[in-house]
């Protein structure tokens, strides 16, 4: 009897799992749910790419033409020219200025939260940032229209110039005509990307081991020296990731920018002038054009450009983080 029991138990342990366990339905269902994201991305990229190349394939527009500076898509106004350079340049410049404003502020805020703020201050500022994230982009745009735009138009209406006694005029640019401008777009964007850059850099700072901070302070450095010379270099790749993610968000933001930038498809010259970005032009024109027309195809090409920008940034973030792991 006893021997039998032992033998049973042995075969029991070696038994192959039952059919149900082998199929493991829950696992398969969950895999499909997760893998659906691959399908979504593949479909999205496929469709946008297909639509985006129609301008070249079907309408015979050359790559050289889309890199020109004139946007004249309406056949009723004479010969068409689908120059996308004004939009691409504006997207780059509006994003760049937004990051220039937002990065120091966001990284400072992340440092405040991770290094300086006592518990109670963190408990107030962090929820406030989450509310920032939740405020819809149209609300930011509307805030820009009702507060920022009139402020700029009133305060800096006259041409802005700087003259030095001996050197003479250093620079000058036209004032804000309406207030709708490159600067207004950048300012609105800088607030919108602030939570993104802050939270990603905050995580990067928290990931730096506490012992390093103690080590530095024990050597008799001030807290700021510790932050400046130890923490920032150690968290650099994380902060870079944060800036890239902020950049992606800024370049892709549509409605808020469209509402304050003034929508003038011209090459950027001064920060006080109205411009149009890729997203704002798509938002504006997509509803007013007929499907399949070269005009709309040009808008699809713009979305393809946007898609390329965002995929590039994903790859960029991966490269930055791989380097961190390698070091």
């Amino acid at each position: 009897m006893a021997q039998m029991a032992t033998a049973d138990r042995l075969t029991g342990l070696r038994a192959r799992p039952g059919l149900l366990e082998r199929i493991d339905v829950p696992r398969r269902v969950m895999f499909v749910a997760a893998a659906s994201m691959i399908a979504i991305v593949a479909l999205l990229m496929g469709f946008i790419a297909w639509q985006g190349i129609q301008l070249f394939v079907k309408d015979g527009v050359s790559v050289g033409q889309i890199l020109s500076t004139t946007w004249q898509p309406d056949p009723e106004n004479g010969a068409t020219n689908y120059g996308l350079l004004p939009f691409i340049t504006a997207t780059v410049l509006v994003t760049a200025v937004a990051l220039l404003i937002s990065t120091p502020l966001s990284v400072g805020l992340a440092l405040f939260l991770s290094e300086v703020a006592p518990q109670w201050a963190r408990a107030i500022v962090q929820p406030a940032l989450e509310i920032f994230v939740g405020i819809p982009s149209v609300v930011w745009g509307w805030l820009g229209i009702t507060t920022l735009v009139p402020f700029l138009a009133h305060t800096f209406h006259d041409p802005i110039s700087l003259s030095l006694p001996i050197v003479g005029q250093v620079f000058s640019m036209p004032g804000f005509f309406f207030g709708y401008s490159w600067l207004a777009g950048s300012l609105v964007l800088s607030i919108m990307v602030l939570p993104t850059i802050t939270s990603v850099s905050y995580d990067a700072f928290r990931a730096v081991p506490q012992e390093l901070r103690t080590g530095s302070l024990a050597l008799g450095t001030t807290r700021w020296q510790m932050i400046r010379h130890l923490l920032l270099p150690a968290a650099l790749s994380g902060v870079l990731t944060a800036v890239v993610l902020g950049m992606t968000r800024a370049a892709g933001e549509a409605l808020a920018v469209q509402m304050v930038i003034g929508n003038a498809p011209i090459m950027p010259e001064a920060i006080t002038q109205p411009l149009t970005t890729l997203t704002s032009q798509i938002t504006l024109d997509m509803g007013n054009t007929t499907f399949g027309s070269p005009w709309q195809d040009a808008l699809w090409t713009m979305s393809l450009v946007l898609l390329i920008i965002s995929v590039t940034s994903v790859v960029l973030v991966r490269v930055i983080n791989k380097r961190r792991l390698g070091a």
Binding site: V116, A128, V139
Partner: protein
């Protein structure tokens, strides 16, 4: 014993006082930095306070029961009821699709995903969708649902596009909630002879519920305010009057039908601003924006509150 060691022979000079400030410059810089860093925190609070105050003042005299429950109008200070209804309708529809999908995907990523090509591909897809501009996701919905499926502008198309856009967020939040469950809980269950699925179902998921609910509410907040995805999928326009007793789901006039254009609050604000010329444009937008902000506040504070209550109940039990 260690004459060759350079440690020996320390000059015995007069001892400097501890009160001597190490280096004046570095101490000053430290103080300046502390002030500046506090400044960033204060700045955020001031901006947020100013925004809330701004909309509270702007909404004063606009937002009233008749505004919330009235039908839209361009010539009078109309209401937003059908639009608010659309926002809620699309929110519910989106969450019905996105939450189960996101949680399932989150469980897979947290509990099953191994170090293989499939996982890498899923992660890459997750990151890619997160970084695709919302307007491009909206355009994708335009091709797929509006044109290819011949749905025209529809609430369902909008919800599906919103699902695409928010699935990575929901998945990531679910994954984080599940990963926060201590490994020992899993080991304890597995050691008792439970299968992996039983462990997830009866041990991990219940413990992750506070985090999951917080994730759902945060996603809902984002869905509620999103406009760019919906512009070209669920449509732009001003619905006039909804008969809530019309339950004919095939009718474009029924507020219950998923196959009808549905302008949400955010899209309405954008549309009014772009095209609206009505005398009350500013008031209507202010009122709508105030409602949006109020709902976002409720979502955020609600997520925090419910998360905290559930955690307390779970840890107390």
């Amino acid at each position: 014993m260690t004459a060759s060691n350079p440690a020996v022979g320390r000059p015995a000079g007069p001892k400097p006082s501890l009160r001597r400030r190490g280096s004046r410059g570095s101490i000053l810089a430290d103080h300046a930095a502390t002030v500046a860093l506090w400044g960033t925190g204060v700045l955020v609070l001031v901006i947020l306070g100013a925004i809330i105050l701004h909309f509270a003042l702007a909404a004063w005299g606009v937002v009233s029961p008749s505004f919330i429950l009235g039908d839209p109008s361009r010539t009078t200070l109309g209401g937003v009821l059908p639009i608010l209804w659309n926002s809620i309708y699309i929110l519910v529809l989106t969450m019905l699709i996105a939450v189960p999908l996101g949680i399932l995907a989150g469980i897979y990523m947290s509990e099953y995903a191994g170090d293989n090509i499939a996982t890498t591909a899923i992660r890459f897809a997750e990151e890619s969708i997160s970084s695709v501009p919302s307007i491009v996701v909206g355009l994708f919905g335009l091709i797929l649902f509006v044109d290819d499926f011949h749905w025209g502008f529809s609430a369902l198309g909008g919800s599906l596009a919103l699902t695409f856009f928010n699935l990575p967020l929901m998945t990531r939040l679910a994954e984080q909630a599940l990963r926060a469950v201590p490994q020992e809980e899993r080991s304890a269950s597995l050691a008792l002879g439970a299968t992996k699925w039983q462990t997830i179902r009866h041990v991990v998921l219940p413990l992750a519920i506070p985090g999951l609910i917080t994730g759902v509410i945060l996603t809902a907040g984002r869905v509620f305010g999103e406009a760019a995805v919906l512009l070209f999928t669920s449509g732009v326009g001003t619905p006039q009057h909804y008969n809530f007793l019309n339950f004919d789901l095939t009718s474009v006039a029924s507020p219950w039908s998923p196959f009808r254009p549905a302008t949400t609050l955010s899209v309405y604000i954008w549309n009014l601003n772009s095209e609206g010329l009505g005398a009350f444009k500013t008031q209507i937008i202010d009122g709508s924006a105030a409602i949006l902000i109020a709902i976002v506040l409720i979502f955020n504070l609600g997520a925090r509150f419910i998360g905290r209550v559930l955690t307390r109940r779970l840890t107390a039990a």
